[in-house]
Symmetry: C2
Subunit: 138 residues, 2 copies
DNA sequence: TTGCGTGCAAAGGTTTTGCATGGCA
DNA sequence: TGCCATGCAAAACCTTTGCACGCAA
């Protein structure tokens, strides 16, 4: 689907290798820089940003924009997600800022409904539900 | 519901007055600054940001984060939306940028489901569904 | 009079970019 | 060899903040 030539550089392999070890966890660009700096194999932030963006384009990572001013979050997409099996939704608490991951079949029906009735192809990776979490709703 | 004392300053009135004339349109902070600067009544950007954020807190405006690095978008909330009668959802096309307003009962069930099953109180005014619109989905 | 709102300028944080060098294919 | 990737630094960008002054209540 994406026959772009990608060089297998040391930095790219290190990045993918690391992100694979934390699937379903939100990582920021500076998190990545910090990780490699404290592990004796620093990668420049320019390279981190460029590779992360490239991996998003390839579908290897998801990118989430939670809030303005805050750094973007990246998350490794597990192999079984590629098979179309599970979709991950996100809920963001407006009060405490907590981010909740959700794997819910019922919510997947939203996609079908939006597609059939509103001719809109939902992008679950990009969509964030805002509201109040269990503790904050009182 | 919100007894905060809000001074009726000239800048605040001008801002609300302008935003009211463009309901359902996405406006950025710099758009606002530009508008008033070219109309002979400049408002400092600090004031624009502070007032916009305050108006969001009051429910007068909605704020949308479209993309990292891109400025936040603000949108005037019409009076009938305040009456609580109808809930308005938004779909934002990631490709052409079009914003689609939706009044759909079926989608309102999402709120009930999130509340009952996931203990999450959805805020429809703040939530935007991202994806591809009819023309862009091809 | 009180204290919030404003304006200016500077800072803060995230992300992008120019350019020379390095490394994969 | 050709060209993409990397690193460094600086720039670009949006947004927030400190402080003194102004103005609504």
């Amino acid at each position: 689907m994406d026959p772009r030539a990608n060089y297998r550089t040391k930095q790219r392999e290190m990045l993918i290798g690391y992100l694979k070890t934390v699937p379903g966890v939100h990582i920021t660009a500076s998190d990545v820089c910090e990780y490699f700096r404290t592990h004796g194999a620093p990668i420049s932030q320019a390279t981190v940003y460029r590779q992360l963006e490239k991996l998003v384009g390839e579908g290897v990572l998801n990118k989430y924009i939670i809030d303005a001013g805050s750094p973007a979050c990246f998350e490794y997409v597990s192999a079984d997600s590629h098979s179309g099996g599970e979709v991950c939704f996100h809920c963001k608490c407006e009060k405490c800022g907590k981010l909740i991951h959700m794997h819910c079949e019922e919510l997947e029906e939203i996609q079908a409904h939006l597609s059939a009735e509103h001719h809109f192809k939902l992008d679950p990776m990009r969509t964030v539900f805002y509201g109040l979490c269990e503790e904050c709703r009182i």
